[in-house]
């Protein structure tokens, strides 16, 4: 993956702050408490996995961090700056990018155009009303580069709705990566993928710049243990455990939650 991206991230970060910090995040939906006071801090360059059973509030957490949802209470700090009251597009401009659990693509446009829109935003040329879109060589070059990085170079001209599910999932990541973010949120990147596709995705994520801070929601434990520096476990909207993979693996309460689920799965199968 490009060295310039990593260098950019590095030069932008101040080493005093965490890359991302959430403090007492609560989110109510009527009577339902999706997040009941979540706090944690992610260091620059860290790979943090967010795991937990379905309904634990993981995607809600991402939505609050990225700005799609406002929290009922609590604050979000991006590189030391309080972004809680900022709309999602301003957080994106500050270097935060995310993917979505269900593909959130520009279905009627080509693969190339999907990525180009992200590159164009990042390059600050989106407002230009008189230049031809092809004439911006920098944008074109970067678009090609991202397509190459994500293995979509051959598929540039294809309409997104004609892509296979796995390719769409790749594009989902490509759009986020095209913004060259400093903090990247990946929401179940391998959801619905075949083992081969999953391996490719893991390889891709591993190749992202080391300076990039990464949060991944995942269900596939193999992926989690392959990628994560630290794991945060959510359960019913609260942090159940937070630590290095081996510590979390050995945590009895975590085992209980997952054991309970495994036992259920096994009894369903028998």
């Amino acid at each position: 993956m490009s060295n310039e991206w990593g260098a950019e991230v590095n030069s932008a970060l101040s080493t005093q702050h965490s890359a991302l910090r959430v403090d007492g995040l609560r989110r109510q939906f009527g009577g339902l408490t999706a997040l009941g006071g979540v706090s944690f801090s992610v260091a620059p360059g860290e790979r943090r996995a967010i795991i937990g059973p379905n309904g634990a509030g993981k995607t809600t957490l991402f939505n609050v961090i990225s700005g799609e949802l406002a929290p009922t209470d609590g604050r979000v700090y991006l590189e030391g700056e309080d972004v809680t009251d900022l709309p999602n597009y301003e957080r994106a401009r500050l270097g935060l990018a995310r993917t979505f659990q269900r593909n959130n693509l520009f279905l009627g446009l080509s693969v190339r155009e999907n990525v180009r829109l992200a590159v164009q935003a990042r390059r600050g040329v989106a407002h230009r009303i008189w230049s031809r879109v092809d004439s911006l060589a920098v944008v074109t070059a970067e678009t090609d580069q991202v397509l190459g990085e994500l293995g979509l170079a051959e598929r540039g001209g294809v309409l997104v709705r004609n892509l296979s599910y796995g390719e769409q999932r790749q594009l989902e990541v490509a759009i986020a990566v095209a913004s060259r973010p400093r903090v990247l949120l990946l929401d179940e990147p391998t959801a619905g993928m075949s083992p081969a596709e999953t391996t490719a995705m893991v390889r891709l994520v591993s190749a992202l710049p080391a300076e990039l801070t990464l949060l991944i929601i995942e269900h596939d434990m193999d992926v989690v243990f392959a990628l994560a520096d630290r794991i945060t476990v959510l359960h019913y909207g609260e942090v159940l455990a937070d630590g290095e993979p081996e510590t979390v693996r050995g945590n009895p309460r975590v085992a209980e939650v997952y054991m309970g689920l495994e036992a259920q799965v096994m009894s369903d199968e028998s």
Binding site: G80, E81, D82, D85, L86, P87, E90
Partner: protein, 327 residues
């Protein structure tokens, strides 16, 4: 640690405050003055506003149910109102109001039939295409209906004769008030109550409410959702037509009435919140009473005031008073 306020949010709140201030100054202050100076007039206008609100509610309720349930924006809804009035006009004919009861029954049925044909024949193929296509299609039909009415009944302003039994005045708190309008209020409130009961207490109602919340789930439960759609559409059309019949004697009829009423109904639904019946109810009350007093206190600005109220509400609550943000 820096906290950043969005410039947009601030300007929006400021604008909303300004608009409410404008409405307050132009409407509420004269209203209070009127109430103090001449409480009888104020009271009468309040009743008029109530009657108007309930007429609007019948229309808005149908529109919001259709939207909430089927996700269809039916711009021909005003046409249903208009057709109801004109059908009633034909049924009442020259009998001088004796057939009013018949019209009250048959006109909504006739319009419901029109609605069914429209839904089955034209809307159904277009459901999966999204909002834009429905808007365009129903708009096209509104156009056609408008011209059909003009062709069949002419462009003159007409009024609907109503049953002699309903004429005259009643005593409200010692003051005379037109019996017909009073009955409109009573009937309107009863209809609101009836709608609420049906939605909250019957099986059909719970199906409709579930359908508003999650149409796919409902069809997954084995209920024939398409039949329910047609029923809801027909009922919505009938409600609008009923309102047209009832409004005929008070508001008169003319070929532009479909559109005039559509605008008001849309304002109400937007202010109250799309897809919620209570939103339509309170929205109708707010807009209906504001509009009535507006016409009395500020005849040149009444329309602008109504829009100012709408704009102010939307600035503070973009999804309407009771609305939920679209997923």
């Amino acid at each position: 640690m820096s906290r950043r306020w969005s410039f947009d949010a601030l300007t929006q709140r400021l604008l909303a405050v300004l608009l409410f201030g404008l409405v307050g100054w132009l409407l509420l202050v004269p209203l209070v003055q009127l109430a103090l100076r001449s409480p009888d007039t104020a009271f009468i206008q309040l009743l008029n506003g109530l009657a108007y609100s309930l007429l609007i509610f019948l229309i808005a309720a149908g529109f919001t149910l259709i939207f909430g349930m089927m996700d269809v924006i039916n711009l021909a809804h005003g046409s249903f109102y208009m057709l109801g009035a004109y059908f009633a006009f034909t049924i009442v004919g020259r009998t001088g109001g004796d057939n009013f009861w018949l019209a009250l029954l048959l006109a909504p049925l006739g319009v419901a039939l029109v609605g069914v044909v429209l839904e089955l024949g034209y809307l159904r193929p277009v459901y999966k295409r999204g909002h834009l296509d429905q808007v365009l299609l129903t708009f096209g039909f509104a156009y056609v209906f408008s011209d059909i009415v003009r062709t069949v009944w002419g462009s003159d302003i007409r009024s609907l004769a109503y049953a002699p039994a309903l004429q005259g005045a009643v005593d409200i708190l010692g003051r005379p008030y037109p019996k017909y309008r009073f009955l409109v209020i009573v009937f309107g409130l009863l209809m609101a109550l009836l709608l609420w009961l049906v939605l909250e207490r019957t099986r059909l109602g719970s199906i409709v409410r579930a359908g508003v919340a999650d149409p796919e789930m409902v069809s997954g439960l084995g209920i024939n959702i398409t039949v329910v759609f047609t029923v809801v559409f027909a009922v919505g059309a009938a409600l609008a037509a009923l309102s047209g019949v009832i409004a005929g004697p008070i508001l008169g009829m003319h070929p532009g009435m479909d559109f005039d009423v559509l605008i008001v109904a849309l304002i109400v639904v937007v202010v109250g919140g799309l897809g919620t019946l209570s939103g339509s109810f309170w929205g109708s009350l707010l807009i209906g009473i504001a509009d009535t007093f507006g016409k009395v206190l500020q005849p040149d600005f009444s329309m602008a005031l109504t829009f100012a109220v709408m704009a102010a509400v939307l600035l503070l609550r973009p999804a309407g008073l009771f609305g939920r943000k679209a997923d």
